[in-house]
């Protein structure tokens, strides 16, 4: 890596070599001196903000609202809903689905999502 202090264009002269050596030695000493964790990580994890907890009533309320919306749609447009359901049944019954096949597709999708997330976060170099 072309480090900043190795840059040949850096405006320094050979007369300043002693300072470069001094700073390089100090920097190297710092890099070599590993600071023991000594409970630091535990303190950080303890101080992390608590995960945002959703209220317990949220899920049943959301499910009830979706159910109400579906019922309202069915009551408002019964013929449309019936047509959609009939067509969906026709399509699904024509396909040779199996439980194992569905499982494999789901597993592949999950692996793909995780792989994409890991790749996108991969460090440079």
């Amino acid at each position: 890596m072309n480090n900043a202090h190795d840059d040949p264009n850096a405006p320094s002269s050979t007369a300043d070599a002693w300072l470069e050596d001094l700073m390089a030695a100090d920097a190297a000493a710092q890099r070599d001196a590993y600071i023991d964790d000594a409970g630091f990580t535990a303190r950080v994890v303890e101080a992390l903000p608590a995960p945002a907890a959703l209220p317990a009533w949220r899920k049943p309320i959301v499910a009830a609202l979706w159910a109400a919306a579906a019922v309202a749609l069915a009551l408002a447009m019964p013929s449309l809903v019936a047509d959609v359901m009939r067509e969906a049944h026709r399509l699904l019954s024509a396909q040779p689905f199996s439980l194992a096949g569905v499982g494999i597709v789901l597993a592949a999708l999950v692996a793909l999502a995780w792989g994409a997330a890991a790749w996108s976060l991969d460090e440079r170099g």
Partner: protein, 191 residues
């Protein structure tokens, strides 16, 4: 210094996607030494303050993990947060001091010694490292930050510019001015 055996990416993904605190703890373990060492340099050897700022750095990293992009290494991103924490701390302290006594505000850091003290300490035979640390403390915030990033954190000028959020030319200027001040303060060591 212990180098991470594998890339940080899987741990970041776990922490981000599943709110996995164990994965984040592993990231903290990997980088705590370098972040704390960087802050110890920036705070001129104030270990307690450096550790407080390091803790703040990792908590901010946890909160903002979703904003981390691969424009920089994870360690460089942490250095950026750490440097901002240090600058924010100094700013807050300056405001507090200004509120108390404007006339006595000579420098921006309570750990910053005067050149006279440095020379008298040197006369008493303190070590080269202590002298260097004190000379570093006498630099301006920007000069000290630039030198710490370029020398102690071993970053390129480009990476240091990312950490300090300024143009590369500004980084080079700060490094040059800082080195000139160090040269003057440490001239006794010139061979």
């Amino acid at each position: 210094m212990a180098e991470p055996s594998t890339t940080d990416a899987p741990l970041i993904a776990r922490a981000l996607l599943t709110d996995d605190r164990h994965a984040f703890a592993e990231l903290v373990k990997r980088h705590q030494s370098s972040v704390r060492a960087c802050l110890r340099k920036l705070t001129a050897g104030n270990h307690a303050l450096a550790d407080d700022l390091a803790q703040e750095t990792f908590i901010l990293a946890w909160r903002n993990l979703a904003s981390f992009r691969q424009e920089a290494r994870f360690s460089t991103w942490l250095y950026r947060i750490a440097t901002n924490c240090w600058l924010a701390h100094n700013r807050k302290r300056r405001e507090e001091l200004l509120g108390d006594r404007v006339d006595t505000l000579a420098e921006d850091d309570d750990t910053m010694p005067h050149i006279d003290d440095m020379q008298s300490d040197h006369a008493r035979g303190t070590t080269l490292r202590v002298d260097l640390e004190r000379a570093m403390a006498a630099l301006s915030e920007a000069e000290r930050a630039a030198i710490v990033q370029c020398y102690h954190n071993d970053l390129t000028h480009e990476e240091a510019a990312y950490v300090l959020d300024c143009p590369i030319g500004t980084v080079k200027t700060h490094v040059l001015r800082g080195k000139q001040k160090l040269k003057a303060a440490l001239s006794a060591y010139a061979r």
